[in-house]
């Protein structure tokens, strides 16, 4: 990337040449005015909140849709955990959970939490909000495609929710949707639910492909003058690498979704062994996407955590380049590990050896990344604010998720642990830090920028401790249950004599879940109250370096009405010796010699 060449180029200088002039054209010059002008216009409710092309508004739309979906997903988990703790009894607020409903609940809980919570909240919401602000641009490069992306996403969410209300009920074939169960209504008994499910998932992929293209091109092309490769905040690197991983891995699954859809609707037999198809093919198509997907949601959360740790430890990120290389390595290796989800699912046993090796290899860059994060704390001046607590909790909890993954990646041990609650607890220890802790870290950190007001620290800390302690109380018992051989997606363990005796632990986990869900009310209250009466935040409440803190909170349309900033240094120049302040914003021109 030859950014250096145009390092000093000012906004309005046209860095393009030849034919490209045609594109840049005359718009460059008058855009400032256009924006300034527009800001004074009263926009109608519809164009401001619903059909907005402003990246910040689209980020909010993604975020609030994500929160609503998270509440739905959380409600589902409440219903099925209650069923497990008190089998057969009517669940307050739901009713009796039948077998089919139980399956539909766990299936859609998984689907929602990954595709409609983790992805929109981490990649789409923070990506949309942060990318233009952090690179000093006025918007995403394709605002209308951005809007389209959200609209498709919204439709996909509606289709998914609608799948619960069609005859036959919601799809209950697990979020992995293995055929022939998912392909054949005669087996899954939810002809419409299964089709709605696959359509919703496919639409969601399209939405994120459009969004991803936007993120990637924006970061590649639209950085502030002077922002070189290593001046990009880590969170943006990670969001964009995640988008690239998503784009490169999702193709086979889109093809697979088309095939599954045809199997369901047209009656083909792509995955039907009786008609020349092969059910194993879907598993490969699914996991070829499914494993990189883990890193697609992990990386943005890691990035958010990196930025927060640096700000509140007042430290430069420990070896920025090495972290970046571990991210690259993780991204590349993540394409080589997919079949470790299928060790006992019928793949040739010889292939399992290959995938064991690659899976253990991928543990190395991830472990190194966590070590580097911990090392960043060294020599810092650590302030335990709410966002920092969340960020540190991310590391602490994800570490458990990471190390328990080794058991499952090692083929021999996976024979026993496959599809038990051990797996379940393992990936909740990864996905919960990613989707929930990562989100809370991000929202508590950027809330002042998003809404111009500070969140309440006391409520924030109550929420933090309530959530974290309850979370561990839910899932540590599940590790033990998994080790005792309890397998997943069973609506009532009383049907299995060897497992019936462990009921106390299930009740305990369910109790902890309810406590955790109740504590989320604290967050919602804090959110709403702070929105209305929080302390005004000012431009840069955390004394952070990155460019988003140099504009007003919340940023106006066009982000920097008085001209877009330039970038002079890396994002983590905290506590530089010889400076009065312990931070050095990226947009402040060097006071002595010119940068670099």
């Amino acid at each position: 990337m030859d950014v250096a060449k145009q390092g000093a180029a000012r906004v309005g200088d046209d860095p393009l040449n030849g034919i490209e002039m045609a594109e840049a054209g005359s718009v460059t010059v008058d855009t400032h005015e256009a924006h300034g002008h527009e800001a004074h216009h009263e926009q109608s409710f519809w164009s401001k909140y619903v059909f907005s092309t402003d990246h910040k508004m689209i980020a909010m739309q993604y975020m609030f849709t994500g929160i609503v979906m998270a509440l739905i997903g959380g409600y589902m988990s409440y219903a099925f955990r209650m069923q497990l703790a008190f089998p057969g009894q009517s669940v307050p607020g739901y009713g009796v959970v039948s077998q089919g409903e139980y399956n539909a609940l766990v299936t859609n809980h998984g689907t929602i939490m990954i595709f409609w919570v983790a992805m929109p909240m981490l990649i789409a919401a923070f990506g949309n909000f942060l990318i233009p602000l952090m690179i000093g641009a006025d918007d995403m490069v394709f605002p209308r495609i951005n809007r389209l992306s959200y609209q498709i996403f919204l439709i996909s969410a509606i289709v998914l929710i609608a799948s619960f209300f069609v005859p036959g009920g919601g799809f209950g074939g697990a979020w992995t949707a293995y055929p022939p169960l998912s392909a054949n209504a005669q087996y899954n008994l939810t002809p419409l639910g299964a089709t709605f499910w696959i359509v919703a998932v496919a639409l969601e992929f399209v939405a994120f492909l459009l969004g991803g293209i936007n993120f990637i091109t924006t970061l590649m092309n639209s950085r502030a003058p002077g922002m070189k490769m290593y001046d990009i905040p880590m969170v943006l690197w990670m969001i964009v690498i995640a988008s690239i991983l998503f784009m490169a891995s999702v193709g086979p699954l889109i093809a697979g979704a088309v095939m599954l859809f045809m199997d369901q609707v047209v009656g083909t037999g792509f995955f039907d062994p009786n008609r020349g198809g092969d059910p194993i093919l879907w598993q490969h198509l699914f996991w070829f996407f499914g494993h990189p997907e883990v890193y697609v949601v992990l990386l943005p959360a890691m990035g958010i955590v990196a930025d927060i740790i640096c700000t509140f430890a007042r430290k430069k990120l420990f070896n920025y380049k090495l972290i970046l290389f571990t991210v690259f390595a993780t991204g590349i290796i993540s394409f080589f590990v997919w079949a470790h989800h299928q060790f006992v699912a019928g793949i040739d046993p010889r292939m399992a050896n290959v995938f064991t090796v690659t899976t253990l290899i991928i543990s190395i860059p991830i472990a190194e990344m966590l070590f580097l994060y911990i090392a960043t704390l060294y020599g810092g001046s650590i302030q335990l604010t709410t966002p920092m607590l969340w960020a540190l909790a991310f590391i602490a909890e994800f570490l458990i998720g990471g190390v328990t993954g080794i058991f499952l990646g090692a083929s021999g041990a996976d024979i026993y642990f496959h599809d038990t609650y051990f797996v379940l607890a393992h990936f909740h220890y990864t996905f919960f830090p990613i989707a929930i802790i990562g989100f809370y870290a991000g929202i508590t950190y950027w809330f002042p920028k998003m809404f111009g007001r500070m969140m309440n620290e006391t409520l924030g800390k109550i929420h933090f401790w309530g959530t974290i302690i309850a979370f561990n109380c839910i899932f540590i018992p599940l590790f033990i249950l998994g080790a005792a051989g309890q397998h997943r997606r069973i609506y009532n363990f009383q049907n299995f004599p060897d497992l019936a005796g462990l009921q106390d632990m299930r009740v305990f986990a369910t109790g902890a879940l309810i406590v955790m869900l109740v504590f989320q009310v604290v967050f919602l209250v804090n959110f709403v109250v702070s929105l209305i009466k929080g302390k005004p935040a000012g431009k840069n409440p955390w004394n952070a370096n990155t460019l988003e803190w140099t504009t007003d909170s919340p940023p106006p349309h066009g982000n920097w009405p008085d001209g877009l900033p330039n970038c002079y240094r890396g994002p983590y120049e905290y506590s530089v010796p010889g400076r009065k302040e312990d931070y050095w914003p990226q947009n402040v021109p060097p006071d002595t010699a010119p940068a670099e």
Partner: protein, 248 residues
């Protein structure tokens, strides 16, 4: 030689494996102890590194908490003396990974790739939402007159090495026997082969561990591991008859 190294490492971790997993689920097959030991080995390795990371993590948070008038250090992390705090653990982790890979593959090879000489073969037919077990009968051969066909009840004899032929009639199922530490998906259209050798007697759970539709939650069976005498008695009682016809 590899086998020797494997046996040696396994013997170190066997008691711990017995404590971790064996205390929760009986060790019921010839290879169950291998898996338990592997799990214990991984637990020790990752436990060590996890603990180390936690100690460093909490120590650093405590040691470098905010103090008035004290500024943070300015380090890039590219200094040699600091970097080695990362690169040494990095190298050590690679060594641990190699050991884990070796042990995992040895266990895997033994259970899934190898097919030792069998004393008898059972056929397991999974369907929505039940298990059919076809026992070879007294002659030890499948597809003969004296086959015993049971429903949700697998009778095996302690100390006998069985091959299984796993098939499915409709969707994916998974033949999972926690006491054996055995798990294998049943795939429609395919015959999956494998082996197990029970080492204890008693009655235990067989689970379906792959989502197979509405009745997935009730798709359990019982495995009855008998002494040779009991097994012979059971066989002579049911010889040549389709036991399933009575129980179904």
């Amino acid at each position: 030689m590899l086998q020797g190294i494997y046996e040696f490492i396994k013997s170190i971790f066997e008691p711990l494996g017995d404590y971790f997993i064996g205390s929760l689920v009986p060790v019921g097959s010839s290879f169950a102890a291998d898996i338990d030991s592997l799990i214990a080995l991984i637990a020790v390795f990752v436990g060590f590194w996890g603990l180390l990371a936690y100690i460093a993590f909490f120590f650093l948070i405590f040691r470098f908490r905010r103090k008035d008038g004290q500024r943070a250090k300015y380090v890039t992390g590219e200094e040699k003396d600091l970097k080695r705090w990362i690169s040494w653990p990095h190298a050590a982790i690679i060594v641990c990974d190699v050991v884990i890979v070796f042990m995992a593959i040895m266990v895997w090879y033994n259970i899934k790739q190898r097919l030792p000489e069998a004393d008898a073969t059972v056929r397991i037919v999974a369907q929505q939402w039940a298990w059919n077990f076809i026992h070879p009968g007294p002659d030890g051969v499948l597809d003969t007159e004296d086959d015993i066909d049971t429903f949700n009840e697998l009778h095996v004899q302690e100390g006998t090495l069985y091959h299984y032929e796993l098939v499915s009639k409709d969707v994916l199922h998974d033949f999972s026997v926690p006491v054996f530490r055995l798990k294998q998906d049943a795939i429609p259209g395919r015959v999956m082969k494998g082996w197990f050798k029970p080492t204890i007697t008693g009655t235990y759970d067989v689970q379906c561990a792959e989502m197979c539709g509405v009745g997935h939650g009730i798709m359990g069976a019982r495995i009855i591991i008998e002494t040779p005498e009991e097994h012979a008695a059971w066989m002579s009682q049911n010889k040549g008859q389709l036991a399933s016809a009575t129980t179904r």
